[in-house]
């Protein structure tokens, strides 16, 4: 396919993606988030199959990043710590957590391009992807909370829940 055709096809795919997400949210409300989350979990598990297991959260994130890169997914992220945090990896009652910054994101671009709001079902798909991938790689439950959905980057809190 020529690049100009690919551009048009990609734009069409983005319109479709945004419209499906927005329509699903309107039609079935909150359940749209669960459906997208589960789709993300399946994708995360499928794509991370065969990745060596580790209990180190930073190693697991590195493996997840490699999985995304290998599959040409532009959902790249980096661990981030603010001046008042001593280390990137933090422990609290809930479990181990790392703050992540997401910059290039096809979901954000799709939502903005067509006037949809952030933190909806498509963002939950990414949450699901991480949950699925980290379940494979670390064997533990996780959550990816959207702390801030910005215009040029998003700030999220990844928590690996303590096994009870």
């Amino acid at each position: 396919m020529e690049t100009s055709q690919q551009r048009l096809a990609l734009q069409d795919a983005m319109v479709f993606l945004g419209a499906i997400a927005s329509g699903t949210e309107q039609a079935i409300g909150e359940s749209a988030n669960s459906i997208s989350y589960l789709a993300g979990v399946n994708l995360g598990k499928k794509m991370s199959a065969g990745v060596p297991q580790t209990s180190d959260i930073l190693e697991a994130l590195d493996s997840t990043r490699k999985v995304l890169e290998k599959n040409d997914y532009l959902w790249l992220f980096e661990a981030f710590k603010t001046h008042d945090q001593e280390t990137v990896v933090q422990e609290d009652d809930e479990g181990t957590h790392v703050m992540l910054v997401f910059r290039d994101c096809m979901i954000r671009q799709s939502l903005f391009r067509f006037g949809h709001t952030q933190k909806g079902s498509l963002c939950n798909m990414m949450y699901g992807f991480f949950a699925g991938a980290l379940q494979n790689i670390m064997g533990q439950e996780s959550s990816l909370e959207i702390v801030h959905a910005g215009e040029n980057a998003c700030y999220k809190k990844l928590t690996i829940r303590r096994a009870s």
């Binding site: 690919q6 990609l10 795919a13 994101c105 040029n152």
Partner: protein, 84 residues
């Protein structure tokens, strides 16, 4: 790439919207001047929410990673080919 963030003092009205929206608490209110000031520039993630929300357009970022316009980026379109 070393990100820089600046507030144009003469434009700032001290409304504190940037302080409220920043997820990493980059700004603080300068009580003396009653203006917002950059306190922890290293903590800025370049989400640009402060620049978008500032009513007087007083905040500028330089040397930051601007997100790609995927549908206009030829290289990205080629990489996405397999999904289309």
């Amino acid at each position: 790439m070393s990100l820089e963030i600046a507030i144009h003092e003469q434009s700032c009205r001290g409304c504190e919207l940037c302080i409220d929206i920043c997820p990493t608490k980059v700004f603080e209110l300068d009580e003396e001047k009653r203006l917002c000031a950059v306190k922890h520039a290293d903590d800025c993630i370049a989400c640009l929410s402060c620049a978008y929300i500032c009513p007087s357009n007083a905040i500028t970022h330089t040397d930051y990673h601007a997100v790609k316009n995927f549908y206009r980026d030829a290289e990205f379109c080629q990489r996405m080919g397999k999904f289309l």
